[in-house]
Amino acid sequence: MLSILSTVLTFLALILIPCLFISRRLSVPLISFTNIRRLINVAASQCDEEEESGTSGKKEKQERLPNHVAIILDGNRRWAKKRGQSTEEGHEAGSRKVIKIAMDLFTLGTKTVSLFAFSTENWGRPEDEVKYLMSMFEKVLKSEIPYFQRHEVKVSVIGNRTNISESLLGSIREVEEGTMSYKDRHLIVAIDYSGRFDILQACKNIAKKAKNGLIQVEDIDENLIDKELMTSCSEFPNPDLLIRTSGEQRISNFYLWQSAYTELYFPNVLWPDFDKAEYLKTLTWYQQRERRFGRRV
């Protein structure tokens, strides 16, 4: 037993210590021990809330973590089909992941998490599926209000509200009002959202303000449009990282204006299978990229 243990430890030392020196030479960026420990604790479902307040936010900024992560939740139906389950079961599995992954991201220091839950184009899906999705959104938003309040997560729902039922609108108002006072963590859920619609409604709002004399026509510029987009509710309106699961390599009308310098990551995993290990891989990949925001270096 002792000989086996010593063999294993020797093997680990022979692998890990050279890796340490090699990674130093490669200047591989590192997240802090606090975050590593947090991640491992999260994996063991023992998240320590007390460590997240105070000066940890500043340290995380310095260590190249994305402030705003946007996720296109793709692959629920394919996941269900692979398992011989119904589309509804696929969406149910996907919805269980949503809150979990969002909380994991907040725990790691992300300030804003956006979820593309339902696009304008999704209205073209079968009526039963659309009805199921809308009732699922209503159920989740309402039932998770105490959870969001306990974890101090501000929830905002963006999108075109004209086609949404009164009962879902009621749940949306309830969750937004119940969490509006929180500042450090922001969950944005996009329901009936379209990037083009976002740009158009910004233009419409500006037009109304110009009509009412609140702004001059000469004042209209990119910054004004930025302020009128639906993401202006967030301290970090432009996502640093956009993840689309299921391997599809497009942004499908999500955050068109806001994603000019967003890192795009398209993992092959289906959304219900996206877990902490996948996000760890995403974060490692994100940290190894160099962003210049269009400027010369």
Partner: protein, 262 residues
């Protein structure tokens, strides 16, 4: 006997050992991921050479009709080396692509427009090709920069705003009949912008980001990161285009299952 101090020291040591262990673990994870990317990069390079030499049957014929409009985003550093851009365009002409939009955020390729048109055989400027948007024999090129993105939308929005303010019933009108997608498309054409949505966007640069490509046009565009322009390979280009021709988009609906042919 007071056991508190030794216990505190012991727990501090244990904490430090655990921290060091986690530190090594994180380094190890980074190494593993880096090695994975290195190994997959080597395999991709080998595959790309095999494709270039015509050794992989499935890439020998591509249904290029499906690719009506291709866009290429080039990092500003890469955009300074126009010869590589010209080589890329020559490859695209060989493959049979009819329309290419070239984007760099600072407009460097726009400034080299004349040289590029001269060096790429049978190339014409997109505006000269009329409404079909493609040259029958060669390749139609469009040069795009950041000024064609948000600035253009602002100009188009101003056109719509003037139209809205001049409308006969401004009191009741919330702008529903003025601020629509088709109206903004029209206004963008008035300010000289192309509103065609590219089918495929190839990004050449260190970052997988579209770097400010006109947002309005990116709705359903497939975005593929090709790596550095300096290290571009014909085989990788062929593979990206072939993969695109196998993609079936649902456009958010569920007409048919999404699948790849390979």
């Amino acid at each position: 006997m007071d056991f508190t101090d030794p216990m505190l020291v012991l727990s501090s040591w244990i904490g430090q050992i655990v921290d060091f262990g986690l530190y090594l673990l994180w380094r190890f994870i980074h190494i593993v991921v880096t090695l994975w990317y290195i190994v997959s990069g080597i395999f991709e390079a080998i595959e790309s050479y095999a494709i270039s030499l015509g050794l992989v049957q499935k890439y020998s014929s591509i249904d290029i009709e499906k690719l009506k409009c291709l866009a290429v985003v080039v990092d500003i550093e890469a955009a300074q080396d126009v010869s590589k851009v010209i080589e890329l365009l020559q490859w695209l002409t060989t493959i049979g692509v009819k329309q290419v939009g070239l984007f760099d955020s600072q407009g460097l390729l726009k400034k080299s427009k004349d040289m590029i048109l001269e060096m790429v055989p049978r190339s014409v400027l997109l505006q000269e090709t009329g409404e079909e948007g493609s040259s029958p024999d060669g390749i139609a090129l469009e040069f795009i920069s950041s000024s064609d993105n948000k600035e253009a939308v602002v100009k188009a929005a101003n056109i719509l705003l003037h139209k809205y303010l001049k409308s006969s019933h401004p009191g009741n009108d919330e702008g529903e009949n003025v601020f629509t997608e088709s109206h903004l498309n029209e206004a963008l054409r008035v300010v000289g912008e192309n509103v065609h949505v590219p089918d495929l966007l190839l990004v050449y640069g260190p970052v997988r980001s579209h770097l400010g490509f006109p947002a309005w046009r990116l709705r359903y565009t497939e975005i593929v990161h090709m790596g550095s322009l300096r290290c571009m390979r014909y085989g990788s280009l062929l593979k990206a285009i072939h993969r695109f021709t196998g993609v079936r988009q649902n456009y958010g609906k569920s007409f048919f299952l999404h699948c790849y042919t390979d």
